[in-house]
Each structure stands twice: as C-alpha cells, then as structure tokens.
C-alpha cells in the first residue's frame, strides 16, 4: 500500500485508550472522544479499552483505509513506551509513520491526578494540542545506520568475563578493557563462594584462561577508556594502555625478577591483599593473575626514583622482558556496542568511627577477611590477627554502611550471605566462637535459606540487633584485652556486651568512586544512589537510555555472582541482537538548513557539540552533516533567521502545540498566528 504524503487537507483519526482502569478510572474517555470529534480536521474519534493491543491497532489500520485518514492521534500512555508501536500501526495502514502524534494522558494525567474533572479537562487540552500539531506533520524517512560488529567491554570482573566469552563464542570480536593489571575483579579475591562453597579461584580461573586464549577476544589489561564518541553502532573509543615497564609478549610470568629484586622484602602495602601484606616494586597481583605478566610500580621502584639501581631484575630475566623505557600508549578502536561491567567498591568502614575500623587493629572489613582465609592470601589461610594472635571469639557485624540514613540507605543484598559464609569459614579454620549480629537475614536466592539453616546447626550464634559500638572499654576483668561489641539483643530485650578477639565488618557495596566520571564519558545516567541507570527496572534491566550501551553486574546495583552472570549474559544478548540485526533505525529528528533563508551569520557553527555544522564558503551558507547530527535542536533555537529547522520538532509544529494547549478561549490575536 503506497504511503500517503499528506498533501491533501488533514483528515485526522483520533483514538483514546481506556488502558483498562488506568486511564478510564479517572479520565472520562468517552467525553474526551466526543470532544475530539468537535476539533478541526478530526474525522474519526473513538475510545477503546487497550489501544496497544492487536485489535486496537487494527482500528487504526482499518480506519485509515476506510475513512481515508492521513493523520493519526492516539491519547494513551507515554510516547516513551508506545510511540513506536503506534507509528508501526500507522505505517501498516499505509501512511508515513510520522503522520502520528501521541498524547500522554496516563503517566502525565490519570496517574497523577485524582480529580476526574480536572484530569479530563487537562486531557482535552493536551488532545487539542496534538490535533493542531499533527495537522502540520510532514512525511519523514527513518535513518538506517549500519552496526559495526565489534564490541567493547569495560571491566573484566566476572560480569565482563562472562559477557566477553558469550560474545566471542558467537563469533564477535571483543575488546575487553580492564583498569587493574589482572582480570577477575572482586571475585578473584574471594576464598569460597556461597551457597555451594565452591572455591572462587577454581571456578573463575578457567574462565580467565579462556578469555586470555580466545581468538576473538583482545584483552587490554592495565588500561582505561579515555574518550568515547559516536552513536549506536558507530562508536569510536580511545583507550589508554598504561605502561607495566614489562613487555606483555615476552614475559612468561616466571616471577624470578620479583625474587631477584634489590628489595629483600616487600615494603609497599599489597593492594590485592587489602594491605595485609607487603609487596615489592616489581610484583604480580596474585600468582594466577591473567595476563600472567609482572609489572613495576614507578612510585616505589628505585630505578625510577633515582636512576641508580643495580637492576638485578633485568639481569635475572632471560627473556629480556623488562623495559624501563616503556611508554603509555593511546589506542583507538571502532565498535558497534559497548557493555559496561565496571563493578563496585566496598563501603569504607572508617566512615563509621564507632566500629573502630582503623583504630583497633583487630577490626577487619569483610574483604580483608576474604584474603585472610584464602589459602593464597597473606597468612596462607591461617586465621592470624594483626597482633599475631589467633582469635577464640569472632563477631561479625552485618549491614555496615547499609540500610542507614547516615551513610547508604540501600540494602547491599550480598552481605548477609557472605557474612554467613565467613562465619562458616572462620569457624572451620579456627574453631572460634562466632557471633553474627544482624538486623534481618536476607537469604533469598536458590539454596540460600538452606545454607542459613545449616549454619544454625553449626553452633554459630545469631544475635538480632544493630551493633551500637565496638569499644575497648572493659567493665569486667574477663573483658581485658578484648574488643567489646555493645548491642541490644532485640529478641530478649537486653543490652549485651559481647567480648570478642576479632571483629568482622560486613561492609556494603557502593558505586565506584569514579562512577560519575565514567558515566559522563559514555553519556549514560546514574540513579540517585550513583549506580548506572537501567532503561527500565523490570523490562530493560541491562539497557541504558543511550542506544548501544549496556550495563551488567554490580555497577548497575548490588548483586551476587549468579545475578551478575545472568545480567552479563543478558547484556551480551542485547548486544548480539543489535549487531545481528545489522542496522538500526534512528528517529529522523535531525536538523536541516533551508538554504534560501540562511544569511551566513555563522551563529550556529560553534553551537553544535558534535561539530555537525560547517560552512560552505562558496555559498556562504551553513551546512549540516546529517550523519553527525543527533537531533538536540539547539542550533534550531539559535538561528536568528529561522533557517535551521528540525524534523519532527519544527517551529510550526511546536507553535501549533502551544496554540492547541491554550486556545480554549480562542485568542484574539491580531496580525499573524502560527
């Protein structure tokens, strides 16, 4: 059916949706339809229960044919939800899909007003505006852009790794960028994972190895994204590869350089071991790091600080892999889709001074304890405290930093389970008495509640109460030398003092410190807590509002490993679906110059943030590159001659909308109307 192009006088079909009770419960939809029928150019006015359903859409396509309509207006929910649906219906009916205008009378009217009379009046104003506007719509063609088949994944923790493998196995070329010298993220630090008590390294290292060896994955570790430009399907990304001062190609990870270093022992707090041990200037984060390449820290290496080191490391390396002259490199890649899986950071327990973190040496954060109980950790898995003792009693405090108006309001979701896990591991390693101090036990996943049950049988003590303080004030002789946890045991209604040798703080999960900078770079939003914002919390949890950019894992919100992997798979699927579609439709809301009106004043040239406007020196007129234009409309508002127009948001269309909104009392304006 050939598309009509609206040259004839407008013949508007109007449809108002009940949306079940959602709209019709407040707005008198029948009255709105009756009102619409009285408006200029409206030929058909109907109300229907569910316009977005198949029969609803068929009303449109049938009416277009039978009533010879050339414009459609639907008053229902938000255009952000169904504008596309109804444009498709319009097109099916044989019209150009942009002869359609939507009126939001649900999110903006029925859902926010209880007064039926006021809501109906508001709906009518909005309908009148849309009817005026759609009359001056023009036929437009959607832009199609090709999608580059490669993908960039930022962040190589378990989420990034899983997404990379999924995409690489599907035959896509993936560049995986990780800012740390090794991939694996937080999961690489854990000892066992709940609820199965799988060894984290055992399940992670095969995946890390697969990433390293996959022909379709380019792994850039110790690298960071510095610049992103472009749009869906066509992103250009600059990545900074930081110098290790060791050649990745030549180093085999034998680590003899570390032994040979002039430092007899480490002096710098080891980042991977959370500062519980020390490392040398030449180091590897952990023995199974991927890539298995050492690196040199220029802040502490004598050669860098004085230029006069014996360089025993270079002597020892028979691969000649050490290169003090290595420089930072900037690489540029083109990709069609980007997945952000940048993870999280733990809450800094120093922000709660009355728990004594940083003050008392035997108060630990949970992530520190993960390293303590890990067989490849600083104490080889032996539970030895900072003062050399082995604890006979341990207190684990839940919800540190979480569920708290003073710090973070949200629940960090994983802490209850990992606290239970640590309780089990600590007891196993040391046979100490273990106390968990909790508010609620959140064990919602598969086999989580059963894990909690098991712990109850292991004689671990559970005290329900939010810990008030950890203090070294002893009130009784037997408390001497211990840390006292003061808490109200809300089950028995008594304030208790529980003396322990070791305190473990179950710190919550937070967005990374630079989450705001990262999200600005990629042009996505964050929610109020600071995690990356998903397009829809239920129906689009891994999409963002920027097409082509997806999020997965803890950067979207606190979650455990199973959920992170699930989201990573989902993000990979979304990226796959974009790439395999091959091309994508862009809304044709770009700006264009009407040459005869352009005076060549150049006001618009500097205005465009995408440098889409240039000047044709020969004609002395502005020229817009449609491929670069994103459709913001700023140049349109800037042009003093009105020579720049915007498709879909023409001045004429917006002025019509304004007129329609306000013309209840027909304006008695003399001298020109829109």
């Amino acid at each position: 059916m050939p598309e009509r192009n609206g040259h004839d006088a407008p013949r508007i079909g109007f449809y108002v949706c009940h949306c079940g009770h959602n709209i019709a419960g407040t707005v008198d939809v029948a009255a709105v339809a009756k009102f619409a029928a009285t408006l200029p150019n409206v030929v058909v006015a109907r109300d229907y229960k569910y316009m977005c359903s198949d029969p609803g859409q068929e009303l449109i396509t049938t009416d277009i044919r039978e009533e010879k309509l050339n414009r459609i207006v639907v008053a229902s929910c938000s255009p952000l939800l169904h504008e596309h649906t109804f444009r498709v219906a319009t097109q099916k009916g044989g019209l150009n899909p942009f002869f359609f205008q939507m009126v939001n009378i649900r999110e903006n009217v029925s859902w926010v007003n209880d007064d039926g009379k006021a809501a109906t009046a508001k709906a009518c104003d909005l309908v009148r505006a849309a009817v005026r506007r759609v009359a001056v719509h023009r036929a437009l063609e959607t832009k199609h852009v090709r999608i580059h088949p490669d993908v960039l994944i930022v962040g190589a923790g378990i989420s990034g790794i899983h997404a990379a493998l999924t995409l690489a196995n599907a035959g896509k070329k993936v560049t995986l960028v990780e800012r740390e010298p090794t991939i694996g993220g937080h999961m690489a630090m854990f000892d066992k994972t709940f609820p199965t008590l799988d060894c984290a390294a055992c399940i992670l290292t095969p995946k890390m190895s697969a990433v390293k060896n996959h022909p379709n994955i380019t792994l850039w570790s110790y690298s960071e994204v510095t610049e992103v430009s472009g749009y869906v399907g066509n992103y250009t990304v600059k990545v900074k590869r930081k110098p290790r001062y060791v050649s990745e190609e030549l180093c085999v990870g034998c680590m003899e350089c570390i032994d040979a270093c002039v430092y007899k022992e480490g002096k710098t707090p080891d980042e991977f071991n959370q500062g519980l041990s020390k490392r040398k200037p030449v180091y590897i984060p952990f023995p199974q790091a991927t890539p298995q390449v050492v690196l040199i820290d220029p802040e502490t290496c004598i050669e860098f600080k004085s230029g006069r080191c014996k360089k025993t490391c270079v002597e020892k390396c028979d691969r000649n892999a050490i290169d003090f002259k290595q420089k930072e490199e900037i690489r540029e890649i083109n990709v069609g889709a980007i997945i952000l899986s940048t993870g999280f950071k733990t809450f800094d327990a120093k922000r709660i001074p009355y728990y004594g973190y940083g003050k008392f040496p035997n108060v630990y954060s949970s992530i520190e304890v993960e390293r303590l109980v890990n067989a490849s950790g600083p104490t080889s898995g032996e539970l030895i405290l900072r003062d050399g003792r082995r604890p006979k009693t341990v207190g684990i405090i839940h919800c540190v930093g979480s569920r708290d108006k003073n710090t973070n309001r949200w629940c960090s979701r994983t802490c209850c389970m990992y606290s239970l896990k640590l309780a089990h591991l600590l007891k196993e390693h040391s046979h100490a008495e273990v106390y968990n101090f909790y508010i609620d036990i959140r064990a919602a996943g598969k086999a989580y509640e059963e894990f909690y049950d098991k712990l109850l049988e292991e004689n671990i003590h559970f005290i329900r109460g939010r810990v008030a303080e950890v203090t070294d004030w002893c009130a009784r002789p037997e408390e001497k030398g211990k840390l006292i946890i003061r808490v109200e045991d809300t089950m028995i209604g008594v304030v208790r003092r529980v003396p322990v040798d070791m305190v473990v703080l179950a710190v919550g999960m937070e967005p990374n410190a630079d989450a705001q900078d990262v999200r600005r770079m990629f042009n996505i939003s964050c929610s109020t807590e600071g995690f990356f914002l998903e397009r829809h919390p239920k129906l689009a949890p891994v999409d963002t509002f920027t097409d082509g950019i997806y999020i997965a894992g803890a950067c979207q919100g606190p979650k455990d490993i199973p959920d992170s992997v699930a989201q990573a798979g989902a993000a990979a699927a979304q990226a796959l679906s974009l790439i395999d579609a091959g091309e994508v439709e862009l809304e044709p809301n770009t700006a264009y110059v009407v040459e005869e009106d352009c005076s060549g004043c150049k006001s618009c040239l500097a205005i465009c943030p995408y440098s889409a406007i240039s000047r044709d020196e020969a004609k002395q007129k502005a020229v817009i590159n449609e491929a670069l234009c994103k459709g913001c409309g700023t140049c349109v508002a800037t042009c003093p001659s009105g020579a720049i127009r915007q498709n879909l948001f023409e001045d004429e269309q917006i002025f019509s909308e304004i007129r329609g909104l306000l013309e209840a009392d027909e304006p008695i304006l003399t001298g020109g109307e829109a």
Binding site: A31, F35, S78, P79, L80, N104, R106, E107, N108, V109, W111, V112, N113, D114, D115, A118, A119, T120, A121, K122, C124, L126, A129, R520, N523, S525, S527, T528, L533, F545, T546, I607, P609, Y610, K630, G631, C632, G633, T634, V636, A637, T638, Q646, F649, D651, I654, F655, E657, I658, R659, L661, L662, E663, A664, D665, P667, I668, L669, T670, A674
Partner: protein, 168 residues
C-alpha cells in the same frame, strides 16, 4: 471543558511546561509510574533537549494565555547532548530580564534542572509553581491584547473624526 481566563470563580492557573525528553520528561513519567499526585495545571510539551527551547515559544505561550511557563532540562554536566542545557540557561537568563521589563512577574517563568530519576522533584516543582502563580492571579494577556486593540481602534476613529477641522 476548559476554564476561562477571567478572574472569576474557578480560575485555575494554566502552566505550559517544556520538558526535555531524556531527563525531565522521563522524570515526569516516573512521577506517574510512582503515582506521585500533583497539581493538574501543567501541560507538557516534549522537546528532545532543553536547548531546543526557542524564547519565542515562551513568549507565544504567554501571549496565548498561559499564566506560567516552566522549562525542565538535565542538570548541568548531564545533558544527553552534552551542552544543550547550558544554551538553554543562557537564553533563559536573557529572557528573564526581558520578561521583567514587560512586567511579567518572575514567578511565572521558571527553569528547573530535573534528572530522569527525580520524579519527586517534578511533583514538588509543579506544585510550588502552581501555588505561586495562583497567588499572582491570571496573566490574561489575550484579554489585555484585545483591550489594547480596542483602544487603538477607538483612537483611530477619534483621530479620523477630527482631521477635517484640525490643522497639522
């Protein structure tokens, strides 16, 4: 259906709101999804970016009878199109001065930065603005224009009637 712009019983402020698609319009939808009920006086016009806001839209809205105009955009630094909201800010500041000169009270024209997750802010902004505009009463420019046109007509006729007897 709609109320009149006369200062009679039942006058309700009419606010035209220009909301940017990515932040403020999304926040308004969020307010709807969260059922945050607020005053029904704002009518939203969606634009892709607050940078699209032509000052003439604002003036036209007032001229056609709006009692208030509200502009919503992303927070500075967060514009989906990078800088559109800064351009909007510049225009708004200049427009504010012009409106002052025209005798239109500051409370009738407002720029608010509202991000996509701030549904609550949409509600409080609209409620606050409606309260302020209600306190100011109707602006009723179309009626004023009609008066001035009538006056001009009368003056023209008055002068036309005199011309015979008056020397230049």
């Amino acid at each position: 259906m709609t109320t009149t712009a006369e200062q009679a019983n039942g006058w309700e402020p009419r606010i035209v709101a220009f909301f940017c698609n990515w932040c403020t319009y999304t926040a308004a939808d969020l307010a709807g999804v969260s059922r945050l009920r607020h005053a029904p006086n704002a009518r939203i016009i969606r634009v892709m970016c607050s940078g699209r806001l032509d000052p003439q839209f604002v003036l036209d809205a007032f001229a056609r009878g709006a009692d208030g105009v509200l502009v919503g955009g992303c927070h500075p630094g967060d514009c989906h199109y990078m800088e559109g909201n800064y351009k909007a800010l510049r225009r708004v500041r200049l427009l504010e001065r012009m409106l002052d000169g025209m005798g239109i009270h500051r409370d009738r024209f407002r720029l608010e930065w509202i991000s996509a997750s701030e549904g609550e802010k949409v509600k409080t902004t609209i409620n606050d603005m409606v309260a302020r505009v209600r306190a100011l009463g109707p602006l009723a420019l179309p009626a004023k224009f009609a008066d001035w046109d009538r006056e001009m007509d009368e003056l023209e006729h008055a002068v036309a009637a005199q011309t015979e007897d008056v020397h230049a």
